[in-house]
Subunit: 229 residues, 2 copies
Amino acid sequence: MKLHVSPDTFPPRGHEAKRLSIVDSAAAVFCREGFAGANIDLIAAEAGVSRQTIYNHHGDKEKLFVAVVRDLTERCNAGIFATIATFPDQPKDLEADLIGFAVRLNQNCICNRDGKFLRKLIQTEGERYPELFAEWREQGPGRTWPAIAARFARLAYGGYLAIEDPDVAARQFLGLVNAELQTTFMLGGSPREDEVLQSATNGVRTFLRAFGKRRSATSVEKQGALASA
Amino acid sequence: MKLHVSPDTFPPRGHEAKRLSIVDSAAAVFCREGFAGANIDLIAAEAGVSRQTIYNHHGDKEKLFVAVVRDLTERCNAGIFATIATFPDQPKDLEADLIGFAVRLNQNCICNRDGKFLRKLIQTEGERYPELFAEWREQGPGRTWPAIAARFARLAYGGYLAIEDPDVAARQFLGLVNAELQTTFMLGGSPREDEVLQSATNGVRTFLRAFGKRRSATSVEKQGALASA
DNA sequence: ACAAATTTAGACACTCTTGTCTAATTCGTC
DNA sequence: GACGAATTAGACAAGAGTGTCTAAATTTGT
């Protein structure tokens, strides 16, 4: 097992490139068709490689599936932690800053390609691969939720919010902010950008009505005009 | 096409019973294995009928699938409307009554067998059968959300709540009340009874902090003890 | 330009599944 | 008890998909 230091040149570049391309296409096909319905020939065609190459790289349909889930989990986690790093610790405008955070989280981690695919695979095949998705649960929600909760705890400690249980607050924040996207998520679709913003805005306003310390001055404006049209 | 008035005696009872049994087992197998992975022989075995009987009744794997989704949608809708009928219009204890409503909705419509199956089928096969699930969307969310929103509007009109947009409030209510069950739902599991109660309690308290008119006297107590343990 | 490694296309055996068909059996009803 | 309808078990053809194998073509590093 050689170790490749420079990430771009030493190991056969085409080789890794093909591996990536395979995993990518496999993710798409597994999502569309499910594990049982996914067709290796189709994955090969979509990746632009021959079927044999897939077997050379991954050996087996099931091993390929595992590789896909691991890859997605890793990339999604990276995205989530990168976004958590943008959480407003010392907000100027708490409402606007939280809305921004919520929109970033949605656009970069939940509605993007990887997030959509991972979510669907968990929903679809989660019960069939308990150990694989137990691993996801530890690496994913098990690490991201506490991180988000810690940020809310910090806001509370800084006097910006009045919350008792940061874990509950974090989950409720996400629940509120995605409240209007549930049906879209359920059907596997991606909400439009304005829908994400709308849901985040409404959600954060309600969140701050419940947990905000002082009522932020710029609150109501002309909301509700779009909602019931 | 004969019309059968008495629901129990006229038409060959064993016939209808078998049809029900088939659809029931098919729902379970389609959920576990997905459409492509579902095996007619397995469905037959689980329903306690021969494969041929399934073809006699439904003709075709795809037609069977459609029958399953229609059946589930119908039963779930009935359950939801029955539960909406128990919405507290003139609450004595608003917090307790809303918690009760939320728990009923979860236990009778979302976490029960039919709800779980329908949710999974929508998530799994929704993209493959646009017209079928468009129908579900109209019959299901398209009718239930307005009904729930109307009840919240009534509470607001009665002076129990201070909400601007009943539709938004209804969606946020559900989002809050299910905030702590998301991971479980995602993996296709059913939360325990105490988890449902816990999530509903926390959700309703936050909801009332945001939209309640007067702070209900019995509010905080010893919450938070379980949450972070 | 040469040699090694990788990729490719295609054929192949094997398994699994769907949907049909037939003959025997069971069930409900008169 | 007898009749007709429904159900059953099993065989069957047809098709699709997985994973293997081989020989040719291509890419890569030296």
